[in-house]
């Protein structure tokens, strides 16, 4: 077993800041007792002197225009679940470590990712695409890995025999024990885990209860540590708060890009693809703007979704600035378990569906279609537009022109020469669109061949097509 622990030290902040590129000073605050204190702040705020632990009023006095958001435990919880779903692309065994960590069992999937180093760098890149920074640590036990990650040591221990010596150096403050236990340990002079471990177990139990030695044993792998694995929800719906309201489509797209990899990981975990995607842009006063895109076939690839969303978003008018976005996967359908990575470049080489989707996204659904002949004698009803790819070539007629005019044009030019005909078409009296016409092939003086008819009711002549 090998566990990868991911600790997100700036999680309360990143929940907000990942939705934007704008480096405006941002701080996340929380009520602590009667005072409101800054819990985390971004680099811009840090440069201006804001520090975690500072009262909000002081921070606001320091930085004009500081954006302060209240810490959102619900959003953090949701984001952690989103991250767990995303991590499903690496391993099916993902365990939550609330409030700001994830544990991934990666021993079984190292070969798939071609080694630990590659896996770690993939995880890192993926996280930064999502807008998170994590400290990674590996150890043979989940709790050991977690303690290492929390200590800020990007350590990677694969050899179980080395685990104890490395963990022994960590401070006791990392342990998940009540405050009085930690204080008590400090008081008896046990500052590191190593010093704790040297104390007799029976004495520790008597003084601090069973939980302390239990935790130490779990970290070292001497006691069982049963983890519940994350089970992704049946529906995908993710909300992202933007730190400041956004009007530009480009900025919105940036925020969407943060969510798409989560959706992709979710779909990989479900072995499915999404056929319809909905993006809700939340406004302050007016109803949500809904951007919806459809795919010809269920899609899993985030890049492809992004491509279409960009095209659609670029043409969407936003009535008001957007303060949050919600990404919803509407129709999730199973797709054959082809691994995404294996065929990734298949998308590049002429994907017919992709072209179709892009054209539709920009031009509208009705502007892109196929054509098919239909069983009717009336020329204007002998064809119809159809869904692209659904045309049938069964019933052709070689005596028909390649161009049909959308509406017959009255023909006043007397210099046409009739070449062949007539072909009488008389049909449709039953549905009120009856025709009674004699069709001829005619040639004009420039050599163009036209399909003309004489309306038998009125005796007038019309051009209906071109033998182009």
């Amino acid at each position: 077993m090998l566990w990868l622990a991911l600790h997100f030290p700036a999680f309360p902040l990143e929940v907000f800041s990942r939705g934007t590129l704008a480096p405006e000073p941002l701080a996340v605050a929380e009520k602590q007792g009667s005072r409101a204190c800054v819990v985390a702040c971004n680099e811009a705020a840090m440069n201006d002197g804001v520090r975690p632990g500072m009262p909000v009023s002081a921070a606001q006095a320091l930085v004009a225009g500081l954006i302060v958001r209240w810490r959102a435990p619900a959003a953090e919880q949701e984001s952690l679940a989103g991250l767990a779903a995303w991590a499903g692309r690496f391993t099916p065994s993902v365990s939550l470590q609330p409030p700001d960590g994830l544990l991934l069992e990666i021993g079984g999937c190292l070969r798939l990712h071609r080694g630990l180093d590659r896996l770690l760098s993939k995880v890192k890149d993926g996280l930064s695409a999502l807008g998170y920074a994590a400290i990674q640590a590996c150890a043979p036990t989940p709790h050991g890995a977690w303690l290492l990650a929390k200590a800020g040591k990007g350590a990677c221990i694969r050899d179980p025999t080395r685990l104890e010596s490395v963990l022994a150096t960590l401070p006791v403050g990392l342990l998940e024990q009540p405050l009085e236990v930690l204080d008590g340990l400090e008081m008896i002079g046990a500052h590191t885990l190593g010093e704790c471990l040297r104390l007799p177990r029976a004495g520790l139990v008597r003084r601090f209860g069973r939980r302390l030695p239990d935790e130490l044993e779990r970290a070292l792998g001497k006691a069982h540590d049963v983890r519940a694995f994350f089970v992704p929800p049946a529906r995908f719906e993710r909300r992202l708060e933007l730190p400041a309201p956004v009007e530009a489509a480009e900025a919105l797209l940036f925020a969407v890009r943060r969510l798409l990899p989560e959706l992709e990981g979710y779909l990989v975990l479900h072995q499915s693809g999404v056929q319809q995607l909905e993006l809700l842009c939340r406004h302050e006063d007016v109803p949500d703007t809904v951007v919806s895109i459809g795919f010809v076939q269920p899609v899993r690839d985030a890049g492809r979704m992004q491509l279409l969303l960009r095209e659609t978003l670029g043409r969407t008018r936003l009535p008001e600035p957007v303060h949050a976005i919600v990404l919803k996967a509407q129709r999730i359908l199973p797709v054959a378990a082809a691994s995404g990575d294996l065929f990734q470049d298949a998308i590049q080489t002429g994907d017919g569906n992709l072209l179709l989707e892009r054209l539709r996204a920009r031009l509208g659904k009705e502007a892109v279609h196929g054509i098919t002949p239909t069983a009717d004698h009336r020329p204007e009803l002998a064809w119809k537009p159809c869904e692209a790819g659904q045309g049938s070539s069964i019933s052709g007629n070689a005596h028909r022109p390649l161009w049909l005019l959308p509406r017959p044009v009255s023909c006043r030019d007397g210099r046409l020469v009739l070449k062949s005909g007539p072909e009488r078409i008389e049909s449709g009296w039953w549905d009120g669109r009856g025709v009674a016409r004699d069709y001829y092939v005619a040639q004009d003086r420039n050599g163009a061949r036209l399909w003309v008819y004489c309306d038998r009711a009125s005796g007038e002549w019309f051009v209906h097509g071109l033998f182009a």
Partner: protein, 227 residues
């Protein structure tokens, strides 16, 4: 001639001024032997733009393409028609053995969208053929299309009025069509290879060989098409 020299001369990047470029270009047979003989590589070139100029409609400008479109129907990929001026008539296309399953008609609302759609269709590589009727061309737009065609390796056909012959164009193949009794006169304004001063005369009445021999999957050898 020296064998080494001959090998060099056969190289696709080299052509001699006295003949049509021998380029082993990827082409689609036009279905008209006289025209094939006049085109470099023996057919419609893929991966570049072809311009078809004609003064008027209805002289056979689409009919000229039908055998090639029918051939392309055996390949995957769309045959994308961008902003056609009239309705492409399904019964006639079906009779010409064009696979309507592969036909994509795109009717953008604005000129800008039409150019965009043509470029996407060419660049994507998902279109075996792109037929486009685009207004207000300029050299920059045409060059973009040409580059898109190079990238996507499809056959790009641009229909333009005859007066465009005066303008410069990056398309390596430009034809001007004129109606002729029972056929079509094809003036080759520009091609890779020497200039051709006489038009290629096509006669519709000549019995043509079957466009799509369904027995073979290999590139179609023209001679035994009657199988």
């Amino acid at each position: 001639m020296n064998a080494a020299l001959e090998a060099v001369l056969r190289h696709s990047a080299i052509w001699r001024g006295d003949r049509c470029a021998q380029a082993s270009e990827d082409t689609i047979a036009t279905g008209f032997p006289a025209l094939d003989a006049a085109l470099p590589g023996g057919g419609w070139p893929r991966g570049v733009l072809t311009e078809i100029l004609s003064e008027q409609e209805g002289i056979g400008e689409l009919r000229l393409l039908m055998p090639a479109l029918a051939r392309l129907s055996d390949e995957a990929g769309w045959q994308t028609w961008i902003a056609p001026p009239h309705i492409p008539y399904a019964p006639a296309l079906a009779a010409a053995e064009v696979e309507l399953k592969r036909l994509l008609v795109v009717t953008p609302k604005s000129t800008g969208d039409a150019w965009w759609a043509a470029e996407q269709a060419l660049r994507s590589g998902a279109s075996g053929a792109v037929l486009a009727w685009l207004s207000t061309p300029d050299e920059r737009r045409l060059r973009r299309l040409q580059l898109a065609a190079e990238e996507g390796k499809g056959w790009g056909v641009l229909f333009r009025p005859a007066r465009a012959a005066q303008e410069r164009s990056p398309a390596p193949l430009r034809l001007r069509l004129e109606s002729a009794p029972n056929g079509l006169a094809v003036h080759i304004l520009k091609r890779r290879g020497g200039v051709l001063d006489k038009p290629v005369m096509l006669d519709w009445r000549e019995p043509r060989l079957q466009a799509r021999p369904r027995t073979s999957l290999a590139p179609i050898p023209f001679r035994h098409g009657a199988a």
